[in-house]
Amino acid sequence: MTKTVTDVICPFCGTLCDDIEVVVSDDGKQLLEVFNACVIGSEKFLHSQAKDRVTKPRMRQEDGSWKDVSYDEAADYTAAMLAKAKKPLMYGWSSTNCEAQSVGNEIAEISRACCDNTAAVCHGTTLIAVQDIGLPTCTLGEVKNRADRIIFWGCNPAHAHPRHMSRYSIFPRGFFTGKGQMSRKMVVVDPRVTDTAKMADVHMQVEQGKDYELLNALRVAFRGEWLPDVVAGIPKEKIREAADMMKSGRFVIIFFGMGVTQSLSKNHNIDIAIAVTKDLNEYTKCSIMPMRGHYNVTGSGEVFAWQFGFPYSIDLSRGFARYNPGDTSSIDLLTRGEVDAMFTIGSDPGAHFPISAVKPIANMPSVCIDPHMTPTSGVSKLHVPVAFNGVETGGNCYRMDNVPIDCRKVVEPPAGMLTDEQFLVMVRDRLKKLKGVA
């Protein structure tokens, strides 16, 4: 016999879908089927059952081969590495729960580490802009029930947040949006004709990297002032059409992604996108929301912020929290050669950092805590596999709109495997002894 677990939370993207159904074996040890999730979410649940999964911590030997070690030995190595390092970097946190993040912050404080999460290569520039001018935002529930003008700027939810449009933004029939898709207009801004752009009422195929100019042109168009014939590759008639469409809505929501945060101008792109939001509130109601990637990158920012006062790029090396992106941010610290130990958890900088920031990791003491084999584990000295958060252990996570949702455990991890939090507690207790902290 099997049993079906309902209302499971999907631990893949920031949409944090909460309607997944999972079929597990009667003894709760095997996950058999996944319903309602997108293809990526299903794969995440099903991959936890892979037969070739690494289940024991592994240490890299002199000859380059792996040697299995116990969790105790792994915790000893990690604690000793952090105790010895002058400026360790503790990076990741976005694919684990808030409880583990909080233990990690204790470790960071004792070892005077630099702490950063995956916002460093995702929405870090958004956070800078939010600190500059604020963020008029809302929840995804409000979007579902009220929004009738949906703007996707530099993001491609059809690929990156596959159920975002069906659960919240385009298709659902909400309280004031009873006709679903028919009651909404969709504007997409992207230099490619993405699968999201193909669905749009208006697609502005902006010249790559010219988002600032186009956002500025929209502000001009709202006011009905003079525009050049073409801005950022878009004819002025199309800009005015998009501007009128936005102004005529009852509730406008701007979703934005990596297209604006990672292009040149970076945080200034977001500055002006927020200014567009502010302008639209002169005519109608408008909100703006970053399309957060990892399922708990938002939670990591929240935990950092309430414990250290800043959402990412934190340097504790002087014994108190400093925040100065460009100086205390992971990529810059690594490429300048300023860190002497690397601790990675719940992310994969080996695959997603520029290679010049990965090379230093291979030449320093390093620990990678990740259920998968990744390029990061491939260059680290110690790989600690752990239970999949959201599948084999529960814990608190934050959706992209800052709504906290408790993830659920649906199956048992392989025998003897620890969770992120359990392993971090072992490291913390050892580190306290080494540092003589009560």
């Binding site: 997108c38 794969e43 000859d63 460093a120 490619r192 790559q208 490429t335």
Partner: protein, 135 residues
């Protein structure tokens, strides 16, 4: 002399890349999903190659061999797209301009045919570039 063209490189998520990272980055499926460069039909003609040819992509920051495929989300002449991952990150502009964020989108790259050069697996590519000894 080998023919080459210059394009503007961007990187980002594709759903195939998302599935591949969750099913195992050590597997060839990751290379199939992310060890590619999506190019417009017009750019294939300018380069003078068939689709699904191995090409060497070079920027000021490095070079990498990937498979050139037709853009699934085009037309976008002049723009090349490599899904986020080690192949894109071998060549993107790491400069953060004091924001902490590398310039993942908007790196000028040179594309040339490399029909006989192999496309490495994800983990293998990073280990090779970092000089990690693998037993």
């Amino acid at each position: 002399m080998t023919k080459n063209i210059t394009l503007n490189l961007i990187s980002g998520r594709t759903i195939q890349q998302g599935v591949a990272i969750e099913s195992g980055k050590e597997k060839p499926s990751y290379r199939t999903a992310a060890g590619i460069i999506e190019m417009d039909d017009a750019d294939f003609k300018r380069l003078g190659v068939w689709k699904n040819t191995n090409v060497k992509v070079t920027s000021d920051h490095g070079s990498v061999v990937v498979k050139a495929v037709e853009s699934a989300q085009g037309p976008n002449p002049g723009i090349a797209f490599i899904p986020m991952g080690p192949w894109a990150n071998a060549i993107i502009d790491p400069n953060t301009y004091s924001t902490g964020m590398p310039t993942f989108k908007g790196t000028p790259v040179k594309i040339e045919v490399a029909i006989n050069e192999p496309i490495l697996l994800g983990i293998e590519l990073v280990q090779k570039q970092c000089g990690v000894k693998v037993g």
